[in-house]
Amino acid sequence: MRALRTAASGMAAQQLNVEVISNNIANMNTVGFKRQRAEFQDLLYQNVERMGAQSSAQGTVVPTGIQIGAGVKAGSVYRITEQGTPSQTGNRYDVAIDGRGYFQVNLPSGETAFTRAGNFAVNGEGQLVTDDGYAVNPAITIPQDAVDVSISKSGQVQVITQGSTEPSVVGQLELATFFNEAGLEAVGDNLLMETAASGPATVGTPGAAGFGQILQGYTESSNVDAVSEISALIVAQRAYEMNSKVISTADDMLSVAAQVKS
């Protein structure tokens, strides 16, 4: 019976849906997290009777045909790169991006990763690093005698050192943008990697055309909306239940058929 497998595909799809929703809810307070959504597609169709087929020698055709679908599959799970709300932290090394772009991070493997999580810190050498200790690219070193650090909207990092009143420039933050941000691959730790689908990174100065601005003392909250996630969860649960009903109905019908004997 095809209905059994069709309903099973529906249950599997809803299970994936719940997994995506639960990941969104779990990351509700993750800095720079972008919510994801599962998108479904119908599975292949069996043509029991092809539409447009000849139904007589006189050239009459079957107007509608019989196509029976075989269920549902996950088309894709993609990230919705909507801006998250900047939330004030007061930490001078926290930076949020207002608009498009990603910070570049040098991984220990030598690769470059991209992130929206701007909760940076300074390591033992005074270098600006992520909370995992990976250096931000381009490298920015804060002198040890810095009294105050200010990061402008265009990403310029200035420090005021002990005994001087004039700020001096120690570095410039850069942002990377992509044609297809949804094509970036998430590798955990708030990091994303470039893929063939995302296209190559375009690096530029914050505030330039097509790039976002830098907000110092803020981090970008996740763009997860708790209310819509919970309502999506309810919908997914009900859909799961309905698919299980189909399975039990198909099972009932099979057992009725199996009991026919004379």
Binding site: A3, A7, M51, I68, G69, I80, G183, F211, M242
Partner: protein, 245 residues
């Protein structure tokens, strides 16, 4: 006597097929742009199992098509700038695939590495003058109700919306895309509206589908009982007639 069993069998077979279709509707209750389907049944007059010239033939049940309800599904807000929902029945986006043009109501599009507007499967979305290329650096694209896409106040393309005279001639490929199986070409749909940041949910009514499910299950039981009774009858007839008098 076998007439009843054969008629019952024809109904049982269509009921199973109906169940397959209801199962597919329920499985796709959450699929963007899915349209609910229904088995169309007819009466097929056939010969009797026993040759009897005086009495007319018997009526079997035969499925002669699957009807698709192209009614509007509810539009859900997603907040993604490249999600498009169509307001207007029987209107589709045109997609360019390797096998020629295809049509869909699922407007969850993305940009490919060259900035072209594509579906999630990577098929190019057709605009009025060929493919649509967006430059993300020019800011968020804004889409007007007639499908015109503009960036930074400058129009960069228009989504191609089409409709068909004979919707029944659309065949599904299983990749969420419809293909035109008739000779009639697609026509431009000028009265439809595109809603940006929204996706069309399926138009499956879950309550209706569950009711169908119950009906199918009960009808199957009734028909099975009828077949059992018929078999019982012929068994008893054989027993009684075979008894030595």
């Amino acid at each position: 006597m076998e007439n009843a069993a054969y008629i019952g069998l024809s109904r049982q077979m269509t009921l199973r097929r109906e169940l397959d279709i209801v199962a597919n509707n329920i499985a796709n209750a959450d699929t963007t742009g899915f349209k609910v389907e229904q088995l169309l049944l007819g009466t097929e007059v056939g010969e009797r199992a026993r040759n009897d010239a005086v009495r007319p033939g018997v009526s079997f049940v035969l499925d002669n098509g699957v009807g698709r309800d192209y009614g509007q599904g509810p539009l859900n807000q997603t907040g993604r700038p490249l999600d498009f929902g169509i307001e207007g029945e029987g209107v589709f986006f045109e997609i360019e695939t390797d096998q020629g043009p295809a049509y869909t109501r699922d407007g969850a599009f993305v940009l490919d590495p060259e900035g072209r507007l594509v579906t999630e499967a990577g098929h190019r979305v057709q605009g009025q003058g060929g493919e649509i290329v967006l430059d993300p650096a020019q800011g968020q694209p804004a889409v007007a109700a007639d499908g015109t896409i503009s960036q930074n106040g400058q129009p960069v393309g228009q989504l191609k919306l089409v409709r068909f005279d004979a919707l029944a001639a659309l065949s599904k490929g299983g990749d969420g895309l419809y293909r035109n199986a008739s000779n009639a070409a697609a026509m431009d749909a000028t009265d439809a509206r595109v809603r940006q940041g929204m996706l069309e949910s399926s138009n499956v009514n879950p309550i209706l589908e569950i009711t169908n499910l119950i009906e199918i299950s009960r009808a199957y039981e009734r028909i099975t009982r009828m077949i059992e009774n018929t078999n019982d009858l012929s068994r008893r007839a054989v027993e009684r007639l075979g008894r030595a008098s």
